[in-house]
């Protein structure tokens, strides 16, 4: 059950999408999201969908994996759709009791669902093709200028990569603790909400203790290797933009421009 969590999962590969500089991929994702939120018409969505599908195709990530990533937010998608369907004012098509469905409502709901789905799939494409380490490296490099205004960029990036690194470890640990408590007859599956919440105590207490223990050990291990923060620290893999990065960035920028132009003409 816990193994189904795909948050931040990385599928190693050698495709163009994998080889792009992580900074480029982060920028692309930002451009993609901006374009998605500027899109107002069918045509602009079509254009962005085209970009998304090319991205999926190039990355070689199984579409199944992307769809699976949508599962946890299925509820939010449905909720947004229903809300938009009933609460958008406009030309009434059908009504019953206090609800009425409008033509605009159907459109908004449809586009909302499309927008969230594409948003999630686009960002998953980023995490599926970029290793957590590369991702935080890219983030640190992109946020670099903020160091001048005393934002602890390196520390933030380090915290993020540590957090990502420990997700699988903690999942495994949780699994083990659950099995051990089940062996003593713990029951996580039945009972009402309060009983179930109480049943979590035997898992959470050992889990927190072990998380603190691990944090402590990690801190000691880092100090033993003379870690002292970002000041004067050099990298093993220095990020360098390659021609392909500029090319893909230009293509994405063109798409964004296209979407903006289309929006300007009310399309």
């Amino acid at each position: 059950m816990l193994k189904d969590i795909t948050l931040g999962q990385y599928f190693p590969g050698t495709s163009l999408a994998h080889r792009l500089d992580p900074r480029t991929k982060l920028l692309l994702t930002v451009i993609y999201i901006v374009a998605l939120f500027c899109a107002k018409s069918f045509f602009s969505y079509l254009l962005i969908a085209l970009v998304l599908f090319t991205g999926i195709k190039v990355s070689g990530v199984a579409p199944k994996a992307l769809v699976r990533g949508l599962k946890p937010i299925l509820f939010i998608i449905c909720f947004t759709a229903v809300l938009n369907l009933f609460y958008t004012p406009g030309e009434t098509l059908a009504s019953f009791w206090i609800f009425k469905i409008t033509k605009e409502g159907i459109f908004t709901a449809f586009f909302m669902v499309l927008r969230i789905t594409m948003l999630i799939m686009g960002t998953f494409l980023l995490t599926y093709t970029t290793s957590p380490i590369a991702l935080t490296d890219g983030m640190e490099a992109l946020l670099g200028p903020l160091k001048r205004v005393r934002v602890p960029v390196h520390e933030l990036a380090m915290m993020m990569s540590i957090a990502l690194r420990f997700i699988p470890t903690l999942i495994e640990e949780t699994d083990k603790i659950m099995s051990a408590q089940k062996a003593r007859g713990a029951d996580f599956e039945s009972g009402n909400l309060i009983e179930r919440a109480k049943a979590l105590v035997p898992i959470l207490v050992p889990l927190f203790i072990s998380a603190f223990r691990r944090a402590d050990e990690l801190a000691v291990a880092m100090e033993c290797r003379c870690y002292h923060g970002g000041e004067g620290r050099t990298k093993l893999h220095v990020l360098r933009y390659k021609p392909r990065d500029y090319l893909v960035l230009a293509a994405y920028a063109a798409v964004l421009a296209g979407v903006l132009v289309l929006a300007r003409f009310g399309l």
């Binding site: 003593r184 029951d187 207490v205």
Partner: protein
Amino acid sequence: MNPIIRVENLTHTYGIDTPFCRSAVDSVSMEIYEGEFLGIIGHTGSGKSTLIQHFNGLLKPTSGAIYLRDQDIWADPKKIRDVRFQVGLVFQYPEYQLFEETVYKDIAFGPKNMGLDEAEVDRRVRASAAFAGLGEDLLDKSPFDLSGGQKRRVAIAGVIAMEPAVLILDEPSAGLDPAGRRSLLENIRAYHKERGTTVVMVSHSMDEVAENVDRIIALANAGVVMSGTPHEVFSRARELMDVGLNVPQVTQVAMELRRRGVDVDPAVYTVADLRRALGALKEVGR
């Protein structure tokens, strides 16, 4: 002897439908007899831990079946909790699973889940604490204030308190110092003797297994490669070494002595036996 647990053609495959698909246990058939002290040996990754998690229904077999007193434990999945009360499993490094405020409450967790009344829970907590070698004065302490070895004893007491018909211990002495190891094993031996229930100990320390168990099952590459009394198993030293296992140090000494021309049984597996064998030789020599 009657088998209390019977495993038939058990296979467990992890990650079906993914590129990481791998059988940790592959068509294993074996029996655990009523009242015996069984040792399961195998190198890391031989499927020991996966196998024992089937005995109490924590894992469901991909194929095959497990019978507890001739009842298929998965016949009624709703009753799997009862199986877990009858087959107590102590995981590796069990001290990381303690969670209660006091030692007493932590040991009482299992019996309380069984729905026993207050007096019975109290009796069991005190009895199992004694079996695990914990003094009465420790019962009101927080388990987190104890030493590593004491924590492990608390965790073991927590399983013994369910009074299971079969007690399974996965590497019970791993990570303890020699004195802690010895005294914990002594406690386990005493428990087996006094209760007369079945005990299964998983280990990769040959010496530990040799000194304690009645019968050994050796696992390698997801299957059973050998089973029999310690003498039978350790007399096949060559085969054991071929699958990445070893024989007790005493056996190694006996084998080396034999190689150098001393006429001694190469399958002795305890210090006492070797001493007796050498003593007999001395008599003959005179």
